[in-house]
Symmetry: C2
Subunit: 170 residues, 2 copies
DNA sequence: CAAGTTACTGACTGATCAGTCACATCTGGG
DNA sequence: CCCAGATGTGACTGATCAGTCAGTAACTTG
């Protein structure tokens, strides 16, 4: 659905609560009324968008991991990390995850986030063959990427910011 | 300020955009009009709340780290981690950080987040004496805590969820 | 007690936004 | 050509919310 893929970028800016449906509609080149005709409501649209986002994230990770061919788990994880860090350039997929996580007080959104994280964890485990501890570490540094992108720490030239983003940003 | 400390809990539920000032006012036991009299606007109130939140977080970490007395950096970091994980029980301080991070498209909020993270990073480095890489790892696992709290993964009894929260939640 | 100052509020306004609905305008099949 | 379904929209409504303002109550100080 074209609307959903445009919605990723639209919601990525300000998140669920702060993005009017009219903005998503404009980004998709249709009227707000039509969006409500295709989706049961703003919430349904957002959930579909989040699902789509995690699809793309999972696909990106799998592609990155499989690119190194059969290799030691740590090497595959490293390749997947590099693929994820590359998403920082785009920003949209990372920002949407962040906003979805922050809107988890809405049960439907929380469930979408759980589904998405579950898919990511399973894909990373399966493709890398790494043990749970290594997968957890992978996820932790992934979440650190989110902070770096949100606060745009790559643009901060101070010692503390370099500590946070060492080896990740720029 | 009493209003600010009550605002932490109020904003922690649904975040900046989804929490009306009237809700904060009610939590503080005053009228919405009075909140606008004391603060330049909703944004000013939120920024003050975020600053207060990072004050508390930093203080919690420092207290946790100093409790072990002079010790090896890794041991101090472990104590600080334990102190941070304890915040999960409260939820409010962690959720507010998350919501502040997600509202970073508002420049004033982004600046408040940067100030807060800077204070945390400096405090952790100073009290633990750990090298930047270890501090970065500390922060990464801290961010992982955020995901666990947001999506309430402690309540999910599935393999992927245990991978994410191993050694942190439950 | 008078006068000033601080603490606080009810009642409003203007803007924004989710969601609806009646109404177009295409499209292909018989 | 006619009709049925799909694709789409403009114009509305009702609710919510940030922010204002005029005014009241409660202290403080001389």
């Amino acid at each position: 659905m074209k609307i959903v893929s445009r919605a990723v970028a639209a919601f990525a800016h300000a998140g669920y609560h702060a993005t009017p449906v009219s903005e998503v509609a404009e980004a998709a080149g249709v009227s707000p009324a039509y969006v409500f005709r295709l989706f049961p409501g703003k919430l349904g649209l957002f959930v579909a968008t989040v699902d789509h986002c995690y699809d793309q994230v999972t696909a990106t990770l799998v592609r990155g991991g499989e690119a190194v061919g059969p290799a030691a788990p740590d090497d595959v994880l490293a390749a997947m990390s590099a693929a994820y860090v590359n998403l920082i350039r785009d920003r949209n997929l990372i920002m949407l995850q962040v906003h979805a996580q922050s809107a988890c007080d809405v049960p439907e959104i929380r469930d979408a986030v759980r589904r998405g994280v579950a898919r990511v964890v399973r894909a990373v485990s399966r493709v890398s063959g790494a043990d749970p501890g290594a997968v957890q570490r992978f996820l932790a540094y992934g979440q650190l990427c989110h902070l770096i992108v949100q606060a745009d720490l790559g643009a901060v030239d101070e010692s503390w910011a370099r500590t946070v983003s060492a080896g990740i940003s720029h």
